[in-house]
Amino acid sequence: MTAQNQRVLSAAETGFEEAFAATHGKQSDGLGEARRAAMARFEATGLPHRRIEEYHYTDLKAKLRSAFALSAKAEIVAPGAVGEVETQGRLVFVNGRFDAALSNVEALAGKISVSAWAEEMGAEKAEVQAHGAAAFPRADALVDLNTAFVQGGATITVAGGEKLEKALEIVHVAKGEGASFSRIDLVVEAGADVLVLESYQGDSGAYLRNTLTTLEVGDNAKLTWVKLQEEAESATHLASATANLGKGAELSQFLLDAGSGLSRSQFAVAFNGEGSNAALRGVSLLKGDSHADITLSVDHKVPECNSREYFKAIVDDKARSVFQGQILVKPDAQKTDGQMMVQSLLLSESAEVNVKPELEIFADDVQCAHGSTTGEIDEDLLFYLRARGIPEKEARKILILAFLGEVIDELDDERVGPLLTSRISNWLHV
């Protein structure tokens, strides 16, 4: 028996293969080659399943039951408001494609250059395309699908030394059903400082979104990347991201993981220059039967870098939260400080949390630690608040907000802190 040849394709896998054959399969330009190479890899592996270690808790082959058509080009009047944050430029993508009419990038001239593209791109984008596939540190079916199908994207470059107080907003809107594929390449040149506020939203359709984001944070540059994942409940959100940090660079990331029935947010960070800091933080708000997977890997290649991972989850009903955090400290990476903390609050007996920390340390002079707690709302705290006249429902909200607030406090960014607090508060009041 040759098990290899026995692989049964799922409806979703067949759907992707057929969609590819009908669209990009025949393109003969350079871009088509990158697409075809990616599709060939995908056809060899299929959707990741539970026997693939990185996907053990998130079996996409089992979870993606039906085939998705590719999303159609769509028009919207305006995206939903992202919130009370001062912005100085906006990129809007609808179903994966850059929408020039809804975007505003003129104001950025001289500080941030934006080169956006839609699927009718020519061969000159082949290089961009190849970069995306190569950026992710391991072979991954989601990245391959993105490369094969990408419908639009942008290369955003923040000019060296530019310190921008106001946020650059990137809004991704899904309209109707179907699968959308988009790419963002963000380069923060040496000494620049920028806040990127990214929002994912969609109408009620059972759509699929696959994104690939590559971040380059130059020497002594600072990037604050805040992502609001607020997709429709019936949506699937599959996001892959990578970050490369130069010398003395700083990356501060916050993920608000509050939408979509099924999500996978994978983020690979690499330290390429000494004396850099990366802080990855996030809050997951899960209810119903949603499944949210956050998978992080931090690669300490060089000495004297600090990484911090701090995530909290509220898991209600039958929802499931998956967190996987890998810290790799290579032999040269002496004086590394890597800290990981994951805390979950279960609001129902059927809720589930899977946490897998993974520390691989090959240097001897390092400080690394990981911790994880999973529990319920403390009845003694609840009683104390109720004994002061605060009704139970309100008391629970106060305690949940206090629990999650610690992550926002640690982000310590007054530009986005109130927005994040109010988003969580709204979610709790539904």
């Binding site: 705290l381 009683f383 104390y384 004994a387 002061r388 006249g389 605060i390 106060i398 206090a402």
Partner: protein, 249 residues
Amino acid sequence: MLEIKNLHAEVEGNKILRGIDLTVKPGEIHAIMGPNGSGKSTLSYILAGKEDYEITEGSITYNGEDMLELGADERAAAGMFLAFQYPIEIPGVATMTFLKTALNAQRAARGEEELSTPDFMKLVREKAADLKVTPEMLRRPLNVGFSGGEKKRAEILQMALLEPTLCILDETDSGLDIDALRIVSEGVNKLRSPERGMIVITHYQRLLDHIVPDVVHVLSKGKIVKTGGKELALELEANGYADYVGEEA
């Protein structure tokens, strides 16, 4: 106002209260004394509505209302207040926000209008000054990093703000030095009024030098075994609880 009749309670099959009868009238201060494990703190938790106990017999009525039917927050809105023996630290909840939420929740439950922020701030500042609760303490998360004495003062501040009609003080003197005991007692005495009843639970007579009770009860093995005037506390201080602990054995 408060009427406890034949109250029996247990937790996981252990009988803790075995038939408590107690009536507190407006304006009265009742002291409940007794050795460790006699059920004093349990009684205070049950009055406040903690759900860990099974009430197997008896009743608690307050101003004619059946308290056993009400949750902790509803009892608070009805005018009951428990000053905790061990006030709980709640990280992430600012003291001021908590005080305002609690006060306005009770006002809303009673059909009263919410207090505006400036009015509220003024009220808190006044009451806090009396109890030597500093503005810096009010800025901190609730009880977090407070010393034992600060926590007790903060409890009495909450009591002064919420203006309950029945105050239950559970070993408010524990962990207090002489100065803190004086400040806390003054805060409590300021709340004495003909409309307000108090139950003061304590091991030691010294608190009762400051907060002078009208009635003293001795609780032993889940029952009130002796009731007398304030002189009973002095007698207990001199002779200990041995006489009473023995009775039920």
